[in-house]
Symmetry: C2
Subunit: 329 residues, 2 copies
Amino acid sequence: MSDTKFDVLAVGNAIVDVLAEASDAFLQEQELVKGAMRLIDEAEADTLYAAMGPGIEVSGGSAANTAAGVAALGGRGAFVGRVHDDSLGKVFAHDIRAQGVSFESETATSGPQTARCLVLVTPDAQRTLNTYLGACVGLREADIEPAEVAASKVVYLEGYLWDAPEGPAIFASAAEAAKQAGREVAMTLSDPFCVDRHRAAFRDFVVGSVDILFANEDEVKSLYEVETFDAAADRAVADVQVAALTRSEKGSVICRDGERHAVDARPVKVVDTTGAGDLYAAGFLYGYTAGEDLARAGTYGSICAGEVIGHLGARPRANLKALIAEQLG
Amino acid sequence: MSDTKFDVLAVGNAIVDVLAEASDAFLQEQELVKGAMRLIDEAEADTLYAAMGPGIEVSGGSAANTAAGVAALGGRGAFVGRVHDDSLGKVFAHDIRAQGVSFESETATSGPQTARCLVLVTPDAQRTLNTYLGACVGLREADIEPAEVAASKVVYLEGYLWDAPEGPAIFASAAEAAKQAGREVAMTLSDPFCVDRHRAAFRDFVVGSVDILFANEDEVKSLYEVETFDAAADRAVADVQVAALTRSEKGSVICRDGERHAVDARPVKVVDTTGAGDLYAAGFLYGYTAGEDLARAGTYGSICAGEVIGHLGARPRANLKALIAEQLG
């Protein structure tokens, strides 16, 4: 591999999360499915926001969280995504850069406002996501610079991005640039509903272009429409080089050819599960691009996921590099 | 007393806090005085923000935090302050209303953006405040409605507001409306540097118009330019009906004529001291306007302050009413 500028170039929706505590009764009133992500338009966002309790704003976005995690581990992370030139857009850009992530995407000066995800955290620490994509839908294939992809060990794509008008073109363009440069393509399936919306397209992309697949149990079972985790894992490993499959408190399983590595979840008091998968991917990719073996990369993922679910918000607060040194020596 | 619409009408700066962790070395580099509040202009705000770590945005503002606390206790709170019609302004308005506070002040559609306070939280849980007042400076005497003051048991004014161009006129107008209606005027001295900027004017206002004075030890000593807490308390009680004086981990002392009631601080793991004084005032005023005796009102203050310093952000997260019932029965 020639010299690289980034370990991980993450591409996804640039979102500010608005976190508020909510009761199960509130979810029922609003007819929300606990634990899922749904897309809402601006009017729905305004209505739900007006009904919600007081919030805390924290930069989020799935792939952006992963990029932030890679940087917090001491890796070289970059992010591509679109914000509007408004106060939440400035918050997003500040936070990701302050974390040490390169973020040079063009800012929208017209059109919809910066994206928000209204996150309802129930007393069981589950989060229910309601995303107004706003400026994100303006991300263009032209925002992917082939030279940046070529300068990154891994380009990481979030499944959520497939909902944007140019999402499929962005995926294709990033995969093509990676292939040309001999780089690897990683993808997260993001959410079971997202898999439902785009199953056929996701299967094509996974088998044709993905080297490293991230998914949780529900997502990978949904992708292949099979009943059991093991059946889904078998299918995944036939399609990609490496499948890193997460199972909440049961930990994760990393599969490659004949290999299966089960990694335990870290014991932690769960406050807010937002970002667990994103930080698992950050830890895994940091370890993987540093040349660690799959089991150790998976352990990095577990430690990072354990940190982020111990507090509100989907970006790491602790120095993840120090945390790993402390836990693994 | 005739019927009232509000227990507490709070008047102050409408601010969104941007909280970030910072090291002592960072404060030194930026030449910041730990624990103090300083006013900064937009350019300074941009420079400091660019140098800061990733943040969390939470609605704040001293008097606004107090109004939120009164509402979280089950009291009737209202707030008067000025935001801009931008995304952080919408966040501020949403959060305070979602807490159950009446907030009907006019929104600015031109001029500076919604105010931000860049809060640096050091590992010792102290906070250092850097406030860009933005739209707050546009609060006008006309924003104080005498009928609203007349319909409130107490009008509560934050010393910080004196920095706004019409601050002194707002104080005078609120005090006059309260006097006409036979209502009480409460004031917090806000900050030792704020007292330094306005000492003579504050002394005049306190002796001429204030019924209930809130201050911490440093502030009240600075107001009267005396060396000891006891000397400052003697001076305060000569000027006002009730002085509620806080002393951090040493608790508070509430003074009226010959009475002195010492109230212990609640034992709590301190995470972020932002909002401690504001929530103390909320608890005290809630108890006071409900007709509780001074010692019990002070205990409410201690419990509320203890809740808010146990987490990041200056607004209560717990149901304060339930918390008081649990701790005091």
